[in-house]
Point group: C2
Chain length 245, copies 2
């Protein structure tokens, strides 16, 4: 029985190793450019042995994707302590770390490239990550049952964060087919701060239409220190030129 | 020769009719739920005759999609007259008209459902529509060669508008698998105005980091009337509670 348990462990370990190797390869090049031969070579095993653990590239891709999704979801977890703006900024830093580490794979996946065979299953995994981000934000806002307007703000901001990350990867926000000019990138740290500001700005716009949203925004701002993220934004918005020319 | 020309016209007319019928069916139900038999019946012709004009459902779907993309792109065109906020609001109204008319098809397409066979070609069509929206906005802002920050703001706002429309279609922003409660929808007119406000808010956030963006925002606001869309937003943001508790 001990031997049997050890043997099962060996299988799991090998699967884990293959997933880690595949995730690394799929992260750095578009999935269609990664072959089973390469995965086998990187893992130091034969091609037939890879097929012993995974029926095909699609299954290995999905397993690697599941691993990446779990990892990203973990990075959303942030202690419920201190100002909200600073918490969201730390999550944005970890999100951009992830995007940076898995750049080409993240880009290919989010754009539904041809390598993503089963749009249904991979799409569901992406939706699960979005849902996790959504639930984390609601938990930090302490709103367990959000009204439609708050749900709209949070979910649409999540898509804004995704697009911002993809455009950052592209270099200048140019379509992916064109040259990537990394030198012209907007600095990552600026985008992380900007996304935190975007969140409160979008919430503030929505609050203009709805008393419940206004109460959420007031609560968000109430806990902020004078030198915090949100104070900074409100100060900057207040400094906008007056509308009358 | 006259007869030949007339015959070619007939072929084109029939193709046009099939595209129109297919677009109508694909707009109201998810594409995988629409059969060639239904398309044939709605067009009043036999199933084999449909195959005479289009090799299969995928080709007909793509032709319908191309028609829809052209139609949506046309709706982005707005005269370069009057305040920018009012121009953008009129485009948002036409965008929501389109989304309303093609709801289920728009939703299935943008979520890359399993019916979308060739992710590459349909994805490219979607990107073309986004690019057209992007170029229209730059033309109205009179910035032919945008810096990276402006490009980021415009492109990420376009994705925000897409997500907002999809969530509006879902009813309450609930995941698509759950029940659609149209009664709890945020009113369309509110979302159209909100998206215009979102645009200027996101531009204002970016302007906090960059003098060139600040100049763009100042120009946007300079042309606005006292009772215009942007004045309304700035007034509402100014009315936010002070940050100090």
């Amino acid at each position: 029985m001990t031997t049997g348990a050890r043997r099962r462990m060996g299988v799991e370990e090998r699967r884990e190793q293959l997933i880690a190797v595949a995730l690394d390869l799929f992260s750095h090049r578009s999935p269609e450019d990664v072959s089973i031969d390469e995965i086998a070579e990187a893992a130091g095993i034969s091609r037939p042995l890879v097929y012993h653990y995974f029926p095909g590239k699609q299954q290995l891709y999905e397993a690697a994707l599941r691993r990446a999704a779990e990892e990203l979801t973990t990075r959303f977890v942030e202690p419920h302590e201190g100002p909200l703006g600073a918490r969201l900024l730390r999550v944005m830093e970890r999100f951009f770390d992830f995007v940076d580490e898995h750049g080409p794979g993240f880009s290919a996946l989010m754009r539904g490239g041809p390598a993503v065979g089963s749009a249904g299953r991979t799409g569901a995994m992406i939706d699960d990550v979005r849902q996790a981000a959504y639930e984390q934000i609601l938990a930090h806002l302490d709103v367990p049952r959000p009204a439609a307007r708050l749900e709209l703000v949070v979910r649409s901001w999540i898509s804004l964060a995704e697009t911002t990350a993809l455009l950052w990867l592209d270099g200048r926000g140019v379509p992916r087919a064109e040259a990537v000019l990394r030198a012209e990138r907007v600095p990552r740290a600026e985008l992380e701060r900007q996304l935190v500001h975007d969140f409160v700005a979008l919430a503030a716009v929505s609050a203009a239409y709805d008393e419940e949203m206004a109460a959420v925004v007031r609560r968000m701002l109430a806990d902020e220190p004078e030198d915090g993220m949100f104070a900074d934004l409100v100060g900057r918005l207040m400094a906008l030129p007056p509308v009358r020319a």
